[in-house]
């Protein structure tokens, strides 16, 4: 291979390969984000392999019924609950539930938010006004309160909780995307696309949206954490899934809150599970934001 060929190969190797590759480069160098990744990988693995890792069944009575159940140690890594069920097992299976709830409710919020935000931002005028005033209305009610109201209307159950938490997030996504689209709508490349005959729908979906989506992706990540917390909170106030067997973290907290002084482990471990999973997601979200936001580029 001649020198020029070698150089050419070198050059093409070093060539940055686009927005997301650049973003990943920056993301990798952020230690906090990497911690987030580790936490989340543990969380996801726990969810996927819960059945394999867990020493017991989530509803198996592994020890005696007790008002003061045994704490961590021995056979039961994180102790037993009052029904004699293994806490570690239930937390593992809870991860599954939390992951599901987070993904589904964020997907619901994201899907509705994307549609409404795109319409408002791209069409503008009255459509924009109508959509955004409804969003403002939703934002004027505290999120959890709105979720409680929605669950009350739709009835208890896992599905309605996920829907409620998702709907509460719609305005955030819609506003974010609308703002982002407004910034892109008058961009030169949009005019250029129109000048070659690209129809309006394609301009929005093929040109504007890919340029506006980055902050929404960051928000979606952060919203996962909010969703997990909100579902836990709904469970805590008694609007959780009404099946008592479901190992929902927020529900585990609620059931044992009055046992806090006697059996700390019943409250501490589900609480820690919530804290670390949401912390991990938040760290990733912040890392993503820094990696994608061109204004923070170094």
């Amino acid at each position: 291979m001649s020198i020029t060929e070698a150089e050419a190969a070198q050059l093409s190797f070093e060539r940055p390969s686009g927005l997301w590759a650049d973003a990943w480069d920056r993301f990798k160098r952020n230690p906090a984000a990497l911690v987030g990744i580790v936490l989340i990988v543990v969380f996801i693995l726990a969810a996927i392999f819960a059945a394999q890792i867990a020493p017991f069944e989530p509803n198996e009575q592994a020890g005696p019924l007790a008002t003061n159940p045994a704490g961590p140690g021995g056979e039961h890594l994180l102790g037993l609950d009052m029904q004699g069920r293994d806490v570690f097992t239930r937390i593992l299976f809870g991860a599954r539930l939390s992951l599901l709830v987070g993904l589904v409710s964020v997907s619901v919020g994201l899907a509705l938010g994307l549609v409404l935000g795109s319409l408002a931002g791209y069409l503008g005028g009255r459509v924009d006004f109508a959509i955004m005033r409804v969003m403002d209305l939703m934002l004027s009610v505290p999120g959890l309160l709105l979720a409680i109201a929605l669950v009350t209307v739709m009835g208890r159950g896992l599905i309605s909780i996920m829907l409620a938490v998702g709907i509460v997030q719609v305005p955030t996504f819609a506003r974010l995307l609308r703002g982002s689209i407004l910034g892109q709508r008058e961009a030169d490349y949009v005019l250029a696309a129109r000048s070659v005959g690209v129809p309006g729908r394609r301009v929005l979906l093929g040109h504007i949206l890919p340029n506006s989506i980055a902050p929404v992706i960051v928000q979606a990540t952060l919203a996962m954490a909010t969703a997990i917390i909100e579902v836990a909170a709904l469970s805590f106030v008694g609007l959780g899934p009404n099946d008592p067997r479901l190992p929902e973290w927020g529900k585990m907290l609620a059931e044992n809150a009055n046992r806090l002084q006697q059996s700390v482990h019943l409250v501490l471990f589900p609480g820690l599970a919530i804290v670390f999973s949401t912390l991990g997601i938040n760290l990733i979200g912040d890392g993503l934001r820094e990696a994608i936001d061109p204004k923070l580029k170094t």
Binding site: Y189, S195, G197, V198
Partner: protein
Amino acid sequence: MPLLSVQDLEVKFFTRRATVHAVRGTSFDLETGETLGIVGESGCGKSVSALAMLGILPKTGRVTGGRVLFGDQDLVGMSDAKLRKIRGKDIAMIFQDPMTSLNPVLKIGRQMTEVLTKHLPMDKQQATAEAIALLDRVGIPNAADRLGDYPHQFSGGMRQRVMIAMAIACRPKILIADEPTTALDVTIQAQILDLMKKLVVEEGMGLILITHDLGVVAGVCERTNVMYAGRFIETGPTRKLFERPRHPYTLGLLRSVPRLDAQRKEKLDPIGGSPPELTKLTEGCSFAPRCVYATEESRARTPELRPIEGNDHLVACWNPVPDADLPHAPTDRPAAQ
């Protein structure tokens, strides 16, 4: 029949504060293979005219009068679906800033094939092959390898070449270039202009070149329209216009540009004042407040374009510049090619 005939085109912008009369009755014809220049300073309505022709004005703008005849079709008032079939296929446009006119998150191959598959009966593979041929034609080395690159991996001049490749992709009959070289440095400017000239000849396209750079017009255009405050105030063959400008504004423009053949000590002579606000135009010549030749008549009545010195040189002025005041005339320097 001319390829494109713009007749009394009027464009207004309706904003909350005021109505801006951006283009006030411009007319011109473009023949096949002709190169036409539109010159004027910022905000005189050059770009707006072009956007109006293609029906891609910003939301607040509207064509309020006139016709744009392409063949026997009037582009004004045509449905967007029909216009979309013409845009990019029969009439294509190149924009000023190649740094922002390409979509930053799409690979250029994708942006080019989008145009091709949209207007021509091509599948993805054919379009890719054609895109490579086009990039090659506008002088991008290793065209095949660069289809997968993003715009930020190209230099400004290269990006403008990509824009040109996209514009000529469907063999348009008319190419509108809106300040195609303004954002580029001088050596690249010359390359891009040469490329455009070459393509116009090869394809037999009509070219409308919009610019504020008199040097660019002189180098490229056969005919030139000078625009001021939304109107054409002088139009003629470029050479004639540069040698014997009859409108005081055209003369002022020429005087405010440095010349290679001028004496070294000679000072540039800018036009005093600034253009009128397009929200409050009154009867009378819009240039009158800045014009040394202005009379009562100039301020009272708006002059229309009328022939002066033959049928091809028109000027909208009550008191055209007298011969004695022409600075370098007659010059032996070739103004146009």
